[in-house]
Symmetry: D2
Subunit: 248 residues, 4 copies
């Protein structure tokens, strides 16, 4: 078996589909919660694809992440590259109006997913002495702001966790980095920002981006793939903003 | 009533006692969980001191923080300055050995205390159009490292929360800043670092500090007081490391 | 001689006058280029003031800084605290329109003043095993932006120099920190930003500040003095933004 | 003409040779100061290569950079991608022993090369509405330290210049980023660090790297190429450390 094994989480939307297409030629794929059409397309291109989905795979828990990792290893024997998409819902609003339930939810999606994901993934990678993990977080983690105070705070926490854990396992041959996006052209962002409402609202959003546009998932996958394919392995514990210059 | 009103949490140890002594001349004091001897000393110096303690004041909850704030306002009518000590136990260890219970505990002390504390404190301060809050976090939040991966990650999250919330209420006249310490000469740090064991171990700890020493609580209170006394009010949403140069 | 000795540069404007007033009770003062009225005022308050001025004191050169330091030591025998005001003119404009002359000028004021100032000041302080230096730079150094590209770049360089040199001399008992201001209410900023033109323009400038106002020199001197008076000495190599929350 | 045009400076050593090999299939190449063998190799692979070298191309000056850019445009009509290698000599030592000559030299190589390089490159790229520039700086710019105080300070200044200028031209379609390396396995670093002396010294150097090794130029070119090939264009004004986790 010459191909590497890549595991991608939450592939129904956001970075997953384009990243799977980008990696398919060199990797067997373990896809968490993909759309059926994506799996069909990848298989038509000759990929071996393991699909993991359902209630057992709650990525906010140790059990869910362990289940996912065990399925991947059971099918392909190892994991070489992981794109861990953390967070799903972007909770915005004034700080004083954030409810305890929203706060718990945000911590769970933005922090627990990173914590339990890394705890589940690292042991086999450390044993094999190599492994590349990209944790998708948010560019707001590097630029906390009103309106996203709790969201950006927990994203900053996740970025810091990646820094510390990346440093801990650097000598074990792992590369663990965070990619934080903002202003991506996909349904989740368009809804959260209101850019799906009308052209005028979208133009206002774009005006906030130094690059004056939203980015496509295809170009994000180009940048992310370089951290997953194993050809450059001298960055770890680092945060990369992917936000049109909005945050550094 | 000419004196300002200062509220200090977790004053049994760490920054509280020296900060109370530093502020006592210009402030009425609301002290959470102080030692009796400190209260006696402050009262002998002529201070009006409100003591709030007991199981009702769980600072990891909305209820506990609201209880504390209500007691302060009920006694003195307002709050001008707050030193919010968050976190208590420093959980260290290898990342893969951090248990779910430790992770929950760390999030609760380092993040929930900041979140619920700020939510309870801000409304009355925003109404009065002024207020100075220092949230004590940790210098590790600005320098996440192995051994303190989850601790430093949640501290980074709290620092980011202070940034975002500070920006949100800057126009309301509030100054909300984080002071992150490391290498302080008090029982909690000495125990967590092992510097209480013997002189050799302490020397090793001190060698990690650019300044080659641990700091006293008196000098920390000098730096902190400047952000609480209302004489300089043009910094907010900022993080100040107090760590002998260890982190910036 | 019980008083400490403080040296302040470029005291004709900006931070110098208020800082001199703030420090005068506990310090003998060495003032570079003060206005005569300030010196009169300080002497009436009982201060011993050494004035150093004239063409020999070009602070962009080794010679100028050495001359200043020698005069201070010759008069008072030592230097305990220094506020090194670097930069004078704020050169703004589009990047492609910055001329080589402006670039040289900006490097000279923002970088050379810090470099030669620190080289002149440190030897006697390192010998005596103590000394507190604040280098005034700019908050733009922590938030480089179009319009101030070369100005903010060289300020960032100076902040980094303070970090490195602060770390180098931490074990020698020195505290060397940078304070970077923006949106200060003094003629230099008002002119550079256009806020001296009319009330409308000033309101626009203030709207860029999270705190929605400009700061006075008196409050800046309160914050700065805490780093100069020797009562708290556990921060070094650090950068402190003083900008109403504009940069962290 | 379907190929893009890439311009690489200081290609005699460091990143240039491997980057030229990595880009050669999709780009015409303008190489500053390459070794003859590299040019031969690239031409054998079918590349069109313009060589620019000699005393006229002093990259510390406006004239030198303009000369280089004009030659590139004269030959190929446009420039799409640039790897601007700034700095050459790594001046280390104690801060008080850095001479004025060394300081001038360091500013000139680390700052002037970036300033004049960007001023020469941007006009034609802004006219065409696209262009990708990577400025090679140093990871020490993000982690200033004793021993490299002036070197890291000027590198930090260059990183900040890239941030400001990147933001200024983001709306013009340019991507301008900095890549800061440390611990690269090439003669310049080996000499400056002493790692070329013996195996023991090299082992000590490697122990300072979280990844516990030096990196090859091939893997650096993999990371850099992704910012030059035009397939992902949503990062600008950013700094990327390439240092085995040593700096973030």
């Amino acid at each position: 078996m010459d191909k590497r094994v890549a595991l991608l989480t939450q592939t129904g939307d956001y970075a997953g589909p384009e990243l799977a297409r980008r990696l398919v030629d060199g990797h067997h794929l373990v896809l968490h919660a993909p759309k059926a059409a994506l799996v069909d397309e990848l298989r038509r291109r000759g990929a071996e694809v393991e699909v993991v989905e359902g209630a057992e795979v709650d990525l906010r828990t140790a059990e869910g992440n362990n289940f996912l990792v065990e399925r991947a290893i059971s099918r392909f024997g190892r994991i070489d590259a992981v794109a861990l998409v953390t967070g799903m819902s972007i909770i915005t609003g004034r700080f004083l109006e954030i409810t305890p339930e929203q706060w718990e939810h945000t911590k769970s999606e933005n922090l627990d997913m990173a914590f339990y994901g890394l705890q589940a993934l690292i042991p086999s990678m450390a044993s094999q002495g190599s492994g590349d993990i990209v944790v998708f977080t948010s560019a707001t983690g590097a630029r906390p702001e009103p309106g996203v105070s709790t969201y950006s705070s927990t994203r900053a926490g996740a970025n810091a966790l990646v820094r510390a854990v990346g440093l801990e396992f650097a000598r074990s041959g792992l590369c663990i980095n965070a990619v934080g996006t903002n202003f991506m052209d996909f349904p989740g962002f368009l809804r959260a920002s209101g850019a799906d409402k009308d052209a005028e609202r979208r133009a206002k959003i774009e005006a906030q981006v130094p690059a004056r546009r939203l980015a496509g998932m295809g170009e994000l996958s180009e940048f992310t793939a370089v951290h997953l394919e194993g050809k450059t392995r001298f960055q770890t514990g680092q945060f990369f903003s992917y936000s049109g210059g909005w945050s550094a």
